[in-house]
């Protein structure tokens, strides 16, 4: 009985340590900066076909979406109430403004919430035109709302310093947000990995070939891989092993560099070869959650030095 009580107490202590210990804010703030830019860019691109995707005569009508398994009765979007092109453009420009302010880190407690609401409003209107990029965008925006993501590398921090205030260096809310991003990344990779285990091509080592040979996806000619079957098989198996083991190995300090290094290779590969630059880089932004705040601060300080000296 005592052993059980001891074990429960240790679990509770571990839980509290994991979730409620203050963490340095730098990594979360860097994710805000990068994710804010990605949100701005992603939605700026919608401008090229705003009425085609969000107008009353859009590709997907309300009736079509209602019959689709992708629809959800609670998946709200303000676009359902917008009929006029003028109002549509006004709302769109306002949303772009919010994303840009979020990227700059101005009034982040408010702009972070608005950025998340806007992201979800776009996704829920045209789920059929969305993909992994939108999932990671919405996920990061959701968790960034929870932490002090404007405490560094932001106009908020600059304004606070002008007022003589020092923005927080450590925060439990920053830890909560980073932990949630970390766990969500583990869930994504794990299910991406075990989902692949259901496919024959990931077992017979040919999956990478089929990805490379998809003309609609490829942005780099990889047909030379037809002469390198062993390389194709190695890349195929490595991808699955890495995805399936990611949720376990990324927590181990000794393995973390290797696991995150693989993430860089895989996602840069997706970005350059499979035409999904935005998705590849957004996934890397999510992986940043595993980089400790002091490392982020040190790297950015080092990168900032030449800029500062050039500015002098």
């Amino acid at each position: 009985m005592n052993a059980l009580a001891d074990s429960l107490r240790r679990t509770a202590e571990g839980w509290n340590r994991f979730w409620f210990q203050p963490a340095r804010v730098e990594t979360l703030c860097l994710i805000r900066l990068l994710c804010g830019w990605m949100l701005f860019y992603t939605h700026l691109v919608w401008s090229l076909g705003l009425e085609d995707f969000f107008g009353p005569h859009a590709w997907i009508t309300a009736e079509a979406l209602a019959q689709s398994p992708e629809s959800h009765p609670l998946a709200w979007s303000w676009f359902w109430w917008i009929d006029s092109p003028a109002l549509l453009w006004t709302v769109h420009v306002a949303a772009l403004g919010v994303f840009f302010l979020f990227f700059l880190g101005l009034w982040t407690p408010v702009t972070s919430v608005l950025a998340f609401l806007a992201t979800v409003a776009y996704v829920h209107r045209v789920p059929a035109a969305t993909f992994g990029l939108d999932q990671i965008n919405a996920m990061l925006a959701l968790y960034l709302m929870l932490g002090p993501c404007g405490a560094r590398y932001s106009l908020d921090a600059w304004l606070a310093r002008r007022r003589g205030e020092e923005p927080p260096g450590e925060s439990v809310r920053a830890n909560l947000a980073l932990r949630l991003i970390q766990i969500h990344m583990c869930v994504m990779y794990f299910f991406a990995g075990i989902g692949k285990l259901q496919g024959a091509t990931w077992w017979d080592g040919s999956a990478m070939w089929w990805a490379a040979a998809s003309y609609e996806y490829q942005s780099l000619d990889l047909t030379w891989m037809a002469n390198w079957p062993l390389l194709v098989a190695l890349l195929t198996h490595l991808t699955v092993w890495w995805e399936v083991t990611y949720p376990a190995l990324v927590w181990l300090r000794g393995w973390r560099v290797l696991v995150l290094g693989m993430a860089v290779l895989v996602h840069l590969g997706i970005a350059t070869s499979l035409g999904m630059i935005t998705f590849g880089t957004a996934m890397l932004f999510g992986n940043l959650a595993f980089v400790p705040g002091h490392a982020t601060a040190a790297v950015l300080q080092r990168l900032g030095k030449p800029l500062a000296s050039r500015g002098r």
Binding site: V120, A129, A192, Q198, A200, A213
Partner: protein
């Protein structure tokens, strides 16, 4: 005096240091983690478990609005062996016909804009399922109708014919023999929907 000191001391303790706020947040965290894990567990072909199905229904009110209901398969179970495109013919009131194939990465720039259209056309792959899957086949119909209506509005067309274009990726041996990814043999096209509009709307 003692009470006042105690109250002042407890207000100095941050929320995460107090038992009840921490318990409430912990409860939410446990629920949230469950809600994050359930959608990928419920994706086909694993979506038949009554336990997961019931649990998904219980968290639907939460995962829907927060956009957490995703399977995260990313090229699983297999990468696309076939890509799905749309070819359409829009017949205008004066008899002229506009034809096009979507998406074309030479026309849609930047790449993200092209990818949005690729996702739209990929949704029609259910129309390509064998007749043993009539229910899944039907999933493509609302999209096909909706796309045809959009094209009719865009071109002020009287008739829109929508073709599903299947583009098969060539195998290793085929490429070694010199086949290109855009070889005409790799494409197959069939009419999947025809829309006739009584009075074409102005775009």
């Amino acid at each position: 005096m003692g009470n006042r000191t105690q109250r002042a001391a407890s207000s100095a303790v941050p929320w995460y240091g107090r038992r009840w706020p921490r318990r409430l947040v912990s409860l939410w965290l446990a629920f949230h983690l469950l809600a994050v894990v359930l959608p990928p567990l419920s994706v086909d072909p694993g979506g038949n478990s009554p336990l997961i199905g019931s649990a998904m229904q219980a968290v639907a009110w939460y995962v829907g609005p927060l956009n957490l209901n995703h399977g995260y398969r990313f090229f699983g179970p297999d990468p696309p062996l076939v890509s799905y495109l749309i070819h359409y013919e829009a017949e205008l009131p004066d008899g002229a016909v506009i034809e096009d194939t979507l998406p074309d990465h030479r026309k849609f720039w930047p790449r993200l804009f092209y990818h949005r259209h690729l996702m739209l056309t990929s949704r029609l792959q259910a129309a390509d399922l064998p007749p043993e899957h009539p229910l899944q086949q039907m999933l493509a119909r609302p999209y096909a109708e909706s796309y045809a209506r959009h094209l009719a509005w865009r071109h002020q067309a009287r008739v829109v014919r929508l073709y599903l274009v299947q583009h098969r990726a060539p195998g290793v041996e085929e490429v070694r023999r010199g086949m290109r990814l855009t070889d005409p043999q790799l494409y197959r096209r069939r009419l999947i929907y025809t829309l006739e509009v009584a009075s074409p709307a102005k775009p």
